[in-house]
């Protein structure tokens, strides 16, 4: 473990090299620490995986990073800036946007509307209750472009509820990308998908990682191996180890930790 968590290396790397960083991050639910003392450092421009057995605290970590939950201990830095006290909406405006573990679309809106809502976030007309929707039709081209990118060009006018599970996830990614986030958090983007959906999604994530930082929770290890430069393993809310795929996969602690949860691998 000490070989991987090389403290000397962390000290010599300036904070400016990290898009996202946490120090001693912790969250307790009525005395039970779901996340405890987590020091996470995500290099700018990298794809970084957060893995661990069910209940390890990965989703809670995401909730803390985007301020869906407020941390009990510790701090969160985005591009070196302390965002621990900000609200979810402010964090999003600063360029840190997440997807959800449970598919988060707007079921009664069409695909086009789903993405356009996100585009409205920076457009400054979202309180115009007196304007016809054509007031934001300028956004349609960009929305269509995003939908094409995730393979939903034929589904513009379908409501999200009508989409298959895999397509819902794709729609969610298009919606997230609409904000052009600097840092993207993806919570199990391939969970519940059939094999035929996993490959395109993986390819898409790899495409959008260009010029962005991505932190991804993923159970499918072949996806992790394809996408991620660095991997952090969580267990019982604490960091078990961190390193490259090969380092982590051969770590005896990780192998032991996963014994109980092999079914997910």
């Amino acid at each position: 473990m000490s070989a991987i968590m090389d403290t000397a290396q962390i000290d010599t790397t300036s904070a400016q090299d990290y898009a996202l960083e946490t120090r001693d991050l912790g969250k307790s639910f009525a005395g039970f620490y779901a996340v405890k003392g987590v020091n996470l450092q995500v290099r700018r421009g990298s794809v970084h995986a957060l893995i661990g057995p069910n209940g390890a605290g990965k989703t809670t970590c995401f909730n803390l990073l985007t301020k869906t939950l407020s941390p009990t201990t510790g701090k969160v830095f985005l591009e070196g800036r302390d965002i621990t006290r900000l609200r979810t909406a402010q964090v999003a405006k600063l360029g840190l946007v997440r997807s959800f573990q449970i598919s988060a679309t707007f079921p009664h809106l069409t695909c086009l509307e789903n993405v356009r809502v996100a585009l409205q976030s920076d457009y400054g007309k979202s309180f115009r209750f007196w304007s016809p929707i054509s007031a934001v039709s300028e956004l349609n081209a960009r929305a269509v472009e995003l939908l094409e990118r995730v393979g939903l060009a034929n589904a513009l006018d379908l409501t999200a509820a009508e989409l298959s599970y895999g397509k819902k996830r794709a729609l969610e990614i298009a919606t997230t990308l609409a904000l052009d986030p600097k840092v993207l958090l993806l919570d199990e983007p391939t969970a519940g998908m059939g094999h035929e959906d996993i490959e395109p999604i993986t390819k898409m994530i790899s495409e959008v990682s260009d010029g962005r930082t991505i932190l991804i929770v993923e159970h499918n290890l072949s996806v992790v191996a394809t996408l991620c430069e660095r991997i952090t393993v969580l267990q019982h809310g604490e960091v078990l180890t961190e390193g490259t795929y090969d380092e982590v996969a051969n770590d005896p602690d990780v192998i032991t930790a996963y014994m109980g949860g092999v079914d997910e691998l």
Binding site: T66, T68, R87, T88, A89, A92, K93, V97, R98, F100, A104, T105, F106, P107, H108, L109, E113, N114, R116, V117, A118, Q120, S121, D122, Y123, K125, S126, F127, R128, F129, W130, S131, P132, I133, A135, V136, T175, A178, L179
Partner: protein, 307 residues
């Protein structure tokens, strides 16, 4: 095209209606159409269930009545004044309730409406238990005499058309898109950089103002305002109208308002029993017509078309 034809047809029917039906009954329906539409805006498009919506309806009735009784201000200004007053109350209610959702929001709004009921009961200017009598219909624009019910019907109709058009506009606006997204998935909207509370505050304020418009008009139609208009029974009635007609459809609340008023009329001969009958009908609607009358019809049309 089809839709324009339908709207035109409806307008012709509405314009001709007072020649066939008692205008006061028609005006009552129109007031409740506005009221139910305002409720539908809140529940159907913002996902907020208000249990005390009558507070906006009834308060505006008193305010407009009071203005007309004590000043020579023209009637349309008095009506809009009542609506604005209710919008202001709505804004206040929104500030204290917007962070709650679901049943908690419903309970807070119920509590506030009971409080307002009490305040109006105790107030001098409302006439307490007796209600506010003899509200005059000041001249429209200060010049047009609208004392006659046949003439006044068209004023009420104009307000109702404007109100429904406004709801349509809100629902199909950039703001409406965000509002529907909040209804569908609030945490997601927040994660996209919005502050959902602010959009909900605006929705409650707008809905309260529209509900107030309905109440203000009703006070001028009957020329009196009573505590009934602020009571929980009216709050319940508007829920019934909206659900019966079809939640989240624009026409639903109109049909619902007509149905419930007609039903009340028919049931009134049974006295106290009418309440029980109302409850039973609501139950039947919830069990068999989950989408409301208009929602079920739309669904049928969709099914037939997709064949």
């Amino acid at each position: 095209m089809n839709r324009l034809l339908l709207i035109g047809l409806l307008l012709i029917v509405a314009i001709a209606a007072p020649f066939f039906v008692y205008p006061v009954l028609l005006m009552t329906v129109l007031c409740f159409v506005i009221f139910a539409s305002s409720f539908n805006l809140l529940l159907g498009y913002a996902g907020l269930l208000c249990f005390g919506h009558a507070m906006f309806f009834g308060t505006a009735a008193y305010i407009t009545g009071y203005v007309l009784k004590t000043t020579p201000i023209s009637i349309e200004i008095a009506i809009l004044g009542g609506a604005l007053f209710s919008a202001a109350i709505g804004y206040g209610v929104a500030l204290v309730s917007v962070r709650r959702s679901g049943i908690q929001f419903a309970m807070i709004t119920l509590a506030i409406s009971q409080f307002i009921y009490f305040v109006l009961l105790q107030s001098e200017f409302t006439g307490g238990e007796d209600g506010m009598q003899r509200i005059p219909r000041n001249d429209l624009f200060g010049v047009i005499d609208v004392a006659d019910n046949n003439a006044y019907y068209y004023v009420v109709l104009a307000f109702a058309v404007a109100a429904v058009a406004l709801v349509y506009r809100i629902v199909h606006s950039p703001y409406g898109e965000v509002l529907k997204a909040i209804r569908d998935n609030e945490p997601r909207v927040e994660s996209l950089g919005f502050r959902p509370e602010r959009y909900k505050v605006l929705a409650i304020t707008l809905s309260a103002g529209l509900a107030g418009l309905g109440g203000a008009l009703k006070a001028t139609v009957f020329q009196f305002a009573t505590l009934t208009d602020v009571s929980w029974t009216v709050s319940g009635e508007v829920i019934l109208m909206t659900l019966m007609g079809g939640l989240g459809t624009l026409v639903g609340p109109m049909v619902g308002a007509g149905l419930v008023i007609w039903m009340n009329d028919e049931l009134s001969q049974f006295g106290e029993w009418s309440l029980i009958a109302q409850g039973a009908i609501l139950l039947l609607v919830i069990i068999f017509f989950r989408r409301g009358v208009v929602g079920e019809v739309q669904n049928l049309v969709r099914l037939v078309r997709s064949r």
